[in-house]
Symmetry: C2
Subunit: 103 residues, 2 copies
DNA sequence: CACTTATATAATCAATTGATTATATTATTA
DNA sequence: TAATAATATAATCAATTGATTATATAAGTG
């Protein structure tokens, strides 16, 4: 696919508040779905649907740890995405609210 | 508006093939609507609609010259947009095809 | 194995979006 | 001033999208 098309697809994917927030959260560290649900204050299926799209575009890695599935960024080789995320302030503070009984 | 929301809005705007192509074309130089219509091989109303959205988001400047209206990038103060466009190859070659009887 | 917890998937639906068609506006020119 | 060229706007419509609801799968636990 031509580079403009490819970039447009990527930007469309990140051009959603929920998905972009997920990406910003994952800048800090890997999170399981229940963490993300808690932080976004959304439903579990909604979070899962967005995670699926991000994973389909190879923007996320997925690793199972027991009953939890952790998602992390997979953007080593995607400098434009790094730049976009780099320009957004961290959500580290929000992550303190995590009950974090995920283990 | 919070920065994630704002960025998501911008990315959604650029996450469209037609609009992103317009932005890339305007990296080279200002163009009138009929130039853009010719280069995109789309209809005039379609080009105008997309230009309107880009202008509404303050990504474009508009100057009338006689019966033509020229659009140009307005991204001096938008480093993230500069970066995104900077990572896309120029469409200079395509612009040679312009009949350019616009004057 | 039954029960619970974590997550995914499928179906549905309302809202948004991009393109088209038709019409209006504005400037130029004969 | 009538005709034309460039552009904008409005209305319509099909396609896409994001959220929700319901259900399925998979892993841990008593």
């Amino acid at each position: 696919m031509d580079p403009i098309n490819e970039m447009a697809e990527t930007l469309k994917l990140l051009g959603d508040k929920t998905r972009l927030t997920i990406m910003v959260l994952l800048k800090e560290r890997a999170l399981c779905v229940c963490d993300i649900v808690e932080l976004l204050e959304t439903s579990q299926p909604n979070a899962s649907q967005h995670l699926r799209k991000l994973k389909a575009a190879r923007l996320l890695n997925e690793t199972r740890k027991g009953q939890w599935i952790y998602y992390s960024l997979n953007i080593e080789d995607k400098p434009h995405i790094q730049m976009i995320l780099g320009h957004l302030p961290s959500l580290k503070e929000n992550m303190d609210q995590l009950k974090n009984d995920c283990d």
